[in-house]
């Protein structure tokens, strides 16, 4: 421990030590969390107070949101239409998160009891476990508190600027409660739209990715394939795939098929590029070692070339994902008569702004979840990489 440790940190460290010792850990082997505790810088009393304030802050702001929504007067010129009267949905929604935050604060507070020891039972391991859990929760809450606070402040400000003061022009900026209600009332068609968009995205993305993988590996593997693939990639690559939309709308026999092609084309290009680069960059020794074991050509491709270039392939797949999402929305807004892009356009046509915003939020959520799933897979597949996955 640092020589500058104050008395508080010393007692802390002592308490920490008793906890650690009493767990049935072997003396030399620390858990990852214990290691972090040891490596962490000691904190002063003032620093700790600030930490606790920060832990409470998101909860406070969320309560402020509810207070403003319930008790502040609404915008004077605002004449509620029948279907969009402010409801309690927003209170429940924010209240839900406030309740979770409250629970986490309580669990964190429990860690303050870490110096309490029961007489005759100094190494009560269940007690110690509870303290450890509480400390972990406390750390996590501290880490996430600033971003939670920022999000709640934004929601607070948005509610203020719309429902409470009308600073943002109405009815183009519906207040959050109206958006939530729109989501609920249109949930069936929204769900169908999400589903349709996801299917289109999945089919387009996977076929484009697969095609890119095939051409990329072929071009990386054989000079002859590279001779033919390279000019195609060079010419078609920099052109956004959505450029072809008008042609596809005319030529394609089905709009769905056309959109799949559009998305696939957008994914194909980056995957081909990075896969080819990846295969060309594989150290020759990898192939030579495999050959000395008698690996067949198929094994050299599937068991050596593909895994060895997988970091590059994932780079292309990541680029392809954002291209695919764009192409999906463009296709749905321009032609396909289903999906989230279509839904947005449709509601805009009817000046149903709350529903439009609901769709925007759902699009964000959907793409966020798709990307989270993608990063999860990527992390798992590339966990062999030195230094981890960025």
């Amino acid at each position: 421990m640092a020589t500058t440790a104050t008395t508080t940190t010393e007692t802390d460290a002592a308490a920490e030590k008793t906890i650690l010792d009493s767990l049935e850990t072997r003396a030399s082997e620390l858990s990852i969390w214990e290691l972090r505790q040891i490596e962490a810088k000691p904190k002063t009393a003032a620093g700790k107070a600030v930490d606790w304030l920060l832990r409470l802050l998101p909860l406070i702001v969320s309560l402020l949101i509810i207070a403003q929504y319930k008790f502040a007067p609404n915008f004077k010129e605002f004449k509620p239409l029948d279907k969009s009267k402010p409801t309690n949905l927003w209170v429940w929604f924010i209240g839900f998160f406030a309740a979770i935050l409250l629970a986490r604060v309580f669990i964190s507070l429990f860690s303050l009891l870490e110096n309490v020891r029961f007489r005759g039972d100094k190494n009560n391991s269940r007690w110690n476990r509870a303290i450890l859990f509480s400390k972990r929760t406390s750390q996590k809450l501290r880490r996430n508190a600033p971003i939670y606070t920022a999000v709640f402040i934004l929601l607070f400000a948005y509610d203020w600027a719309t429902l409470k003061t009308g600073r943002l022009p109405q009815p183009y900026f519906p207040w959050p409660d109206a958006i939530l209600n729109a989501m609920i009332s249109d949930r069936v068609i929204l769900w169908k739209s999400v589903w349709h968009s996801l299917i289109l995205l999945f089919i387009g993305y996977s076929s484009g990715g697969l095609a890119g993988l095939v051409t990329g590996i072929a071009a990386g593997w054989s000079e002859k394939a590279r001779y033919w693939v390279w000019p195609v990639v060079k010419v078609l690559g920099p052109i956004p795939s959505t450029t072809w939309l008008p042609i596809i709308l005319i030529v394609a026999s089905s709009l769905f098929g056309g959109s799949v092609f559009l998305i696939a084309l957008g994914v194909w290009y980056p995957v081909t590029m990075t896969t080819m680069t990846g295969v060309l960059n594989i150290p020759k020794s990898n192939f030579e070692a495999a050959r000395t074991f008698g690996a067949t050509k198929a094994a050299l491709i599937f068991k050596v070339a593909i895994p060895a270039s997988s970091p590059f392939i994932f780079q292309g797949l990541t680029q392809g994902m954002s291209i695919a999402c764009t192409a999906l929305l463009v296709a749905e807004m321009m032609g396909v008569e289903a999906g989230l892009g279509w839904y947005i356009n449709w509601q805009r046509g009817w000046a149903e702004f709350a529903k439009m915003y609901a769709a925007v939020i759902i699009i964000c959520l959907t793409f966020f979840l798709v990307n989270a799933l993608f990063s999860f897979i990527k992390k798992r597949v590339l966990r062999w990489k030195e230094g981890g996955v960025v």
């Binding site: 990898n286 050959r291 008698g294 062999w384």
Partner: protein, 261 residues
Amino acid sequence: MSERGSIEVRNLNKTFARLDSGGTLCAIEDLSLTVEPGEFVSIVGTSGCGKSTLLRVIAGLEMPTRGEVLCGGVPVTGTNPDRGLVFQEHTLFPWLTVRRNIIFALKSSKRLGANRAAVDTLIGKAGLSEFAGSYPHQLSGGMRQRASLIRSLAVSPDVLLLDEPLGALDSFTRMTLQDEIIRLWQERGNTMVLITHDVDEAVYLSQRIVVMSPRPGRVTEVVDVPMSYPRNRGSSDFTELRVKLLTALNFASEVEQEYNL
């Protein structure tokens, strides 16, 4: 001479195209060498004298420019799991754990069935039991080298070609592994060809030592080691052979100087 595990190098010449200068580089010139089945042969020589190249040609990774190489009486035309090669730098696949690296080798050579049980035994012998599930970048340099070695051993090749397999190890681990190599060799009776920079290692391990001279690579001397195993590093025979080899190597490097002038 057609028994499994024999090696016959006949008037081998290996010339590389030099991309930097547009010329050629003769790495091995008119080299002939015969290794009996089950024999343990070491190759020593200064850096750059074509030792690795010779091993790669025997393994079937490089084709001879002139001359031919026969293994078990059959001309070498490509790689074969019967001829294992442990590379100078470790060539473990970074995307596979130690155990999976070995299983890869067994699967590729279609020898998984009979050897699956032996995988963990081998890992244990190399002192890697705790790291069987680790990826190569999580291992130390010496551990990687050991893992490469047992990966090639797992396939049970008739001929095992070792390119400085113990180069990255501390002298103590090195000695332990040298004993382990001898034990495995005696147990399996396969042919061993070992490249080393360490004269002690060559004398301790092999039955015959081939001294090579550089540019172009040639065999300058072949020294027999008529000692029984296990050998005593302190014995007078041992020291005598060491001196003899060092003299031979010195001569070989003088040859190099002549060429350089």
